[in-house]
């Protein structure tokens, strides 16, 4: 017989104990789940889930692990719903030991199952999905559940830390405002500045690469300037370009410009000398050497800079909105205004928008990189000799 899965056995036992411990407590009364009238409906399904988990701990089959994962997560969710409705019936304190035993026991069980899934071996499709696809999807859900459970169970106020559902509620109710903020921050400020900075950077990089004078005289300066934290200059830029979107776009274009220049020059100057000799032997002109060799060689360098600056410029624009407060629009303004008034649910929703935009934009640039430099060694993987 196979070895018993200790983690899942232990977690099921912890959860089982939790069913018989008090779930909510007030000064006058201590009650187990069975006695909390409004939540007693959860007792039977929870018991069933836990017993199933106990049985499952004797097997290591992938299917059992997958089912155990679903059981664990739904058990934790069920416990959460139950305690929430119990707390809502007039108890003033936070959740008691019983809830925490069930909730954390179920999550621990689910985590154990994810661990089982990651160590599966086998090449068939189901095993592959369970091993490679499921864990990265489940772990965020797991963390969100843990977050929600802690905030609900401890009754943390919004002005201290919002729950997941608080944030989601704002995402739905205030999505129109957040979309407007995103358009303002992302398109008018960041994207405009980014494209301008990148285009200027590419052109400047080409000029520097073609001119020894600029390369010797200007490049060291550019390298030095690029290490200045430009965001510190935001107030100055605000004075120069006004408190509206122009100053933030200027910040974005400056933080994009210098890395693009430096990478572009590096890419243009480091082409293989033998490839250079080869073109020389065909009597290629300078412009041909540039088009056929230097520029394609520089593309991977350029995309590296574009990827890094896509994130840096978004962060810079948001921070610039803090530093140069203009009209109350934009994700950065939304973050600072809502935080100041204790509406952390709005703060988190705005951050969620900002990070989603950042990830999508980075992904877009990475996609362009794949299209334009698919030949580069970083995409060849095992194909390389």
């Amino acid at each position: 017989m196979k070895k018993v899965n200790v983690t899942s056995l232990l977690s099921a036992l912890i959860a089982l104990a939790g069913l018989f411990l008090p779930w909510v407590a007030t000064q006058s009364q201590v009650s187990g789940l069975a006695q909390v009238e409004t939540a007693s409906w959860a007792w039977i399904p929870l018991l069933a889930l836990i017993v199933l988990g106990l049985i499952g701990s004797w097997s290591r089959a992938p299917v059992v692990a997958a089912i155990g994962l679903i059981l664990g997560l739904s058990g934790a969710l069920l416990a959460l719903v139950a305690v929430k409705s119990a707390l809502a019936t007039g108890y003033t304190g936070s959740a008691s030991l019983g809830f925490w035993f069930v909730f954390l026991g179920e999550l621990l069980g689910a985590a154990g199952m994810v661990n089982c899934l990651t160590t599966l071996s086998g090449a068939d499709r189901v095993t592959y999905v369970l091993r490679e696809v499921v864990p990265p999807l489940v772990v965020p859900a797991f963390l969100l559940l843990l977050w929600q459970g802690i905030v609900e169970g401890l009754r943390v106020p919004i002005a201290f830390f919002p729950s997941v559902t608080d944030v989601v509620r704002v995402l739905f109710s205030a999505h129109a405002v957040l979309v407007d903020d995103s358009i303002h921050t992302f398109i008018r400020q960041m994207l405009f500045g980014y494209i301008l900075g990148a285009a200027m950077g590419v052109l400047t990089g080409m000029m520097i690469a073609l001119s020894p004078f600029l390369r010797r005289g200007f490049l060291p300066l550019a390298t030095a300037v690029s290490s200045i934290p430009v965001i510190g200059l935001a107030p100055v830029l605000g004075r120069a370009f006004g408190v509206d979107w122009e100053s933030k776009a200027a910040v974005a274009s400056i933080v994009t410009f210098f890395p693009v220049v430096i990478n572009m020059v590096q890419g243009l100057m480091t082409a293989d000398p033998r490839k250079m000799d080869l073109l020389h032997s065909y009597a290629a002109r300078r412009g041909q050497i540039f088009r056929k060799l230097r520029f394609p060689h520089a593309l991977p360098y350029l995309f590296n800079a574009l990827k890094i600056t896509s994130i840096i410029s978004l962060i810079s624009v948001i921070v610039a909105e803090f530093l140069i407060p203009g009209p109350p629009e934009g994700l950065g303004q939304r973050i600072s205004l809502s935080a100041r008034s204790g509406r952390y649910d709005i703060t988190f929703a705005a951050i969620a928008f900002a990070s989603t935009l950042g990830i999508l934009f980075y992904g877009f640039i990475a996609l362009l990189e794949r299209v334009f430099t698919a030949w580069h060694s970083s995409f060849r993987g095992a194909q390389r000799r």
Partner: protein, 260 residues
């Protein structure tokens, strides 16, 4: 046909470095090569074989002496695209397919697209890579990559091929196969080949004359006539004269070590 296609006259090449440590790469090099010859250069490392080739290609300038190629300066010969150069490594462009790599010199020379494509197709057939024309270089083995680089050097039909240890990185089996292919191409296209190598059997098997060079300073030590019958085949490597000639070259190379 006794007018030389390439002539080195009293060629010296000194690489100046900081301080007084000048490196004399080549000294008093005199050599005349007539059309359709296959010249192999052999010698220990540092004897200036590669430098000799790079001088002919106008990739380096001689310190003194004179080089003429088809009665022109090397620079004019380069501008007239008289030679194709093959390096030890394939030096293919990673972002171009096999076919596009072969077309590169033709693009530089402004050959129209349909003509380029026909030419690339023909040459890939010649080196046996027709099926791989749409592959990228990294999808090919080392031997195949080197064949692409040879096809590229031949694409514009240069009358001279300068080859710097082109088969140096290949395994023995691929190398012998490539040698036969190269000889076939040489016979068919009637080019003149300058071929740098480290391998005695390779020099003897391929060349009509083998130039043995000595190091520090690089000089021509001896020029050995290789009178093996043409066309050379697999059997050539097994005939008695082949072994005699490899011994001659080997002894000559040994002579370079003891000074001259």
């Amino acid at each position: 046909m006794n007018t030389p296609i390439i002539a080195f006259q009293e060629v010296d090449k000194v690489f100046a470095s900081r301080g007084s440590n000048h490196l004399v790469a080549l000294e008093h090099v005199n050599l005349s090569i007539v059309p359709e010859e296959f010249i192999a250069f052999i010698g220990p490392s540092g004897c200036g074989k590669t430098t000799l080739l790079r001088l002919a290609a106008d990739l380096e300038q001689p310190t003194s002496g004179r080089i003429t190629i088809k009665e022109k300066t090397p620079e004019q010969a380069r501008l007239d695209r008289d030679y194709g150069y093959v390096f030890q490594d394939p030096v293919l462009y990673e972002w171009r397919t096999v076919e596009q790599n072969v077309q590169l010199p033709l693009e530089i020379m402004g050959v129209p697209k349909p003509k380029r494509e026909t030419r690339a197709h023909h040459l890939l057939g010649l080196v046996g890579l027709s099926e791989f024309s749409h592959h990228y270089p990294w999808q090919l083995s080392g031997g195949m990559q080197q064949r692409v680089s040879i096809a590229r050097a031949l694409s514009f039909s240069p009358s001279i091929l300068l080859m710097d240890e082109p088969f140096g990185a290949l395994d023995e089996i691929t190398r012998e196969q490539m040698q036969l292919e190269l000889l076939r191409i040489w016979r068919n296209l009637k080019t003149t080949v300058l071929f740098v190598t480290h391998s005695i059997p390779e020099a003897v098997f391929l060349s009509t004359r083998t130039v043995v060079m000595s190091p520090r300073p690089g000089r021509i030590h001896e020029i050995i006539e290789i009178d093996l019958p043409q066309p050379r085949t697999v059997e050539t490597r097994e005939c008695e004269r082949f072994f005699e000639l490899t011994t001659v070259v080997r002894e000559s190379l040994r002579g370079t070590e003891n000074g001259h």
